[in-house]
């Protein structure tokens, strides 16, 4: 699995590999070349790049968790979410028009929230690429982008869900949402029993990113998605970027 691990950086300080101690990779070279050429030819400015980068540092799954917790505790808010989710996102501080004024070029401004019931369970995939509601959930996890997940989920959903630790009884309808065009989707799970007097903050803690993709259910005491994490050679500096990696680091 971790065939790209390189010797010399084997865990001594994996989060902060010294820049350029290891030889730069071909994709790092290509990225620098493309970015510099684009700027030199006036296609965009370094300031544009910096502004967009700053926006990416503000996104993450916590916003989705807040949305779910609020929808669980406020039926009127939930109704607004189901009516127009992009608009309702503004109430929890997420403006889908950022950072350009018309949204990101790839996420569009068309979010639909899929409400689970005791007899209906949604799970999301993009079989064609990795479409994902970044403004609300941050960047997609690596496994979501793999051909493996994209190939198998639409055909063997219950097997794949079981591999995530989620086994659903046959009477529950599994509904896969293949996010293949310009709608973006998020799952609104069923509020678990035993959370009746919880605050929104408490509720948000058990709504992990995996619950909002639909590969896990919120459960009392489960506050993080646990997957093996492949460490970066030169990770994003000081970033809270990758939703799950951040969960892992917190523990």
């Amino acid at each position: 699995m971790s065939h790209t691990h390189t010797p010399g950086n084997g865990g001594a300080d994996p989060g902060h590999a010294a820049p350029m101690v290891e030889e730069i990779t071909d994709f790092e070279v290509l990225e620098i070349a493309v970015r510099e050429l684009a700027i030199e030819h006036g296609l965009f400015t370094a300031e544009d790049h910096r502004r967009f980068t700053e926006w990416t540092e503000t996104i993450g799954p916590a916003a989705g968790s807040r949305l779910v917790a609020k929808a669980w505790t406020d039926p009127a808010f939930k109704a607004r979410v189901m009516e127009d989710a992009v608009k309702a996102c503004k109430e929890i501080g997420i403006d889908w028009a950022e950072p350009t004024g018309f949204g990101t070029p790839s996420d569009y401004m068309n979010l639909r929230v899929l409400e689970d019931t005791p007899t209906l369970h949604h799970v999301i995939v993009c079989t064609l690429c990795s479409c994902y509601p970044r403004p609300l959930l941050g960047m997609s996890p690596e496994w979501y982008r793999t051909t493996n997940y994209r190939r198998r989920l639409v055909r063997w959903p219950r097997q794949v869900l079981a591999e995530f630790g989620l086994i659903l009884p046959p009477e529950v309808e599994v509904r896969i949402e293949d996010s293949n065009q310009k709608c973006r989707f998020m799952v609104l799970p069923v509020r678990p029993e035993g959370t009746e007097n919880w605050t929104e903050e408490q509720l948000a803690e058990i709504v992990t990113r995996d619950c909002m993709i639909g590969v896990a259910l919120p459960r009392l005491g489960r506050t993080a998605d646990v997957h093996p994490v492949h460490k970066a050679r030169r990770p994003v500096q000081g970033s809270t970027h990758s939703g799950e990696a951040r969960h892992e680091r917190k523990e």
Partner: protein, 141 residues
């Protein structure tokens, strides 16, 4: 690629990137029906294909991956390309071997490089000279 030995190994590796069909392909007189369909199938349409269980990993993000994402998005923001051309069609145009073989954001940055040349924003000679210059700047052989 001065050493002939190195060249031979590199060429063998390139030639082995034929995930479609591992048989000699010197005389492709008849490529019809299912084989034709398989060849022209857009690589990204993978839903329902057979695959085996794996451990679903997270990945800590590399700095170049974030920079790639932002570069591609800013190129969209400034109207140089749209998302459908980019993440979607351009990734397919890389071909099957690259599509399945390089990192997720590797597809993105290769697509961006290709687009700069395709749309005549940057001559190919300038792109390769820039790549050579960046390699030399960071001491990459």
């Amino acid at each position: 690629m001065s050493a002939r030995n190195e060249l031979r190994h590199q060429q063998e590796l390139i030639a082995s990137l034929q995930p479609a069909l591992h048989v000699p392909q010197n005389w492709n007189y008849e490529v019809d029906g299912p084989l034709y369909t398989a060849y022209v199938h857009p690589p990204h349409d993978v839903g329902g294909q057979f695959d085996v269980p794996v451990v679903y990993e997270e990945k800590e993000e590399e700095q170049w991956e974030l920079d790639t994402y932002v570069t591609c998005e800013v190129l969209g923001w400034r109207g140089v390309w749209n998302s459908e051309e980019r993440r979607r069609r351009a990734d397919n145009d890389l071909g099957y071997a690259l599509y399945v073989g390089v990192p997720y954001y590797g597809r993105w940055i290769l697509s961006a490089a290709r687009m700069l040349v395709d749309k005549n924003h940057v001559p190919l000679t300038e792109l390769v000279e820039k790549i050579a210059e960046v390699k030399s700047r960071y001491g990459k052989k």
